[in-house]
Symmetry: C2
Subunit: 175 residues, 2 copies
């Protein structure tokens, strides 16, 4: 398999919809081209079965929901924080290991934003990755240092959102 | 299967990367939740095998590349335009038919932008769709009338792009 000279580091940030969907799409494309891809979800818990997890299992793609569904609104903030730290330890090992061609850190900006995880350590770990590894980080409000380190950054900007009109999250579209 | 009261009409626009990836991700999620999804690609030709097409075939999702890879730069502009018109006729039938729960019109803003297809006709067709049908349109510079008609609009804004740094499109990431 032809591999690029160096894997890319992509960031999908902003307050609009489509960040995780774009990462799911990237995983699917990469898998279709024979790459090995893994998706680590930092906020989502394993309780709600997402559409991407069903398909990932069918395709043999690893999607690990490592959060508890909560962020800074958690009732047990110490546990939520610890889950994020554990997930990052796992992510670091996976990035450094080079077993996967594409590693997605989904909704990873949140623990950075809350300063639970040190962004400098993250930038160092991503920068030191094996040459063939692509990394995608998604989540609102990516820290400047992360944007600085990335090769490609897209801001998903919310122009119009149906929840403004009172339409709830929909299975098959939102998860 | 529980269906929402009315399907959503989503637009992913802007000059940044991630629009088609987000649509691919949406198709995957929808399929994982038991929805029937189809992706009509208005610019891509069937010549280059994309990662999403490989996976779609594996999952039994229809991805139809209906363009010739060209836009207004086409050497045979009449043919390129006719392909877009034919693709739209097909899309109209699929949207109205209600066989699919999610219909993606990928890179569909381009023929609208060139005025090859009448945006008012498109808005009318999408507005008249069966209640369970979700529609996603992707592409730069979505016409105002399309944004007006949509339930959800995200602008993928380019913050940083590796091609600025001379890195070419990469298999497994860009297609």
């Amino acid at each position: 398999m032809t591999r690029p000279a160096h894997g890319l580091f992509l960031v999908y940030t902003g307050n609009g919809k489509g960040k995780t969907s774009a990462a799911v799409g990237a995983v699917v494309r990469a898998t279709g081209q024979g790459f090995r891809a893994v998706m680590l979800q930092f906020i989502k818990s394993g309780k709600r079965v997402s559409g991407e997890r069903v398909i990932a299992e069918r395709l043999g793609i690893e999607v690990a929901a490592l959060g508890d569904g909560f962020t800074w609104l958690s009732k047990d903030i110490d546990r939520t924080k610890q889950l994020a730290l554990d997930a990052w330890e796992r992510a670091k090992g996976i990035i450094a290991g080079g077993e996967y061609d594409l590693v997605v850190l989904d909704e990873f900006t949140y623990p950075l934003q809350y300063l639970w995880i040190d962004t400098r350590e993250v930038v160092a770990a991503i920068s030191a990755r094996p040459a063939h590894v692509h990394v995608i980080v998604t989540g609102r409000a990516a820290p400047d240092a992360l944007i600085e380190a990335a090769d490609l950054v897209t801001e998903m900007r919310e122009v119009k959102h149906p929840y403004q009109a009172g339409i709830p999250a929909q299975r098959g579209i939102d998860f």
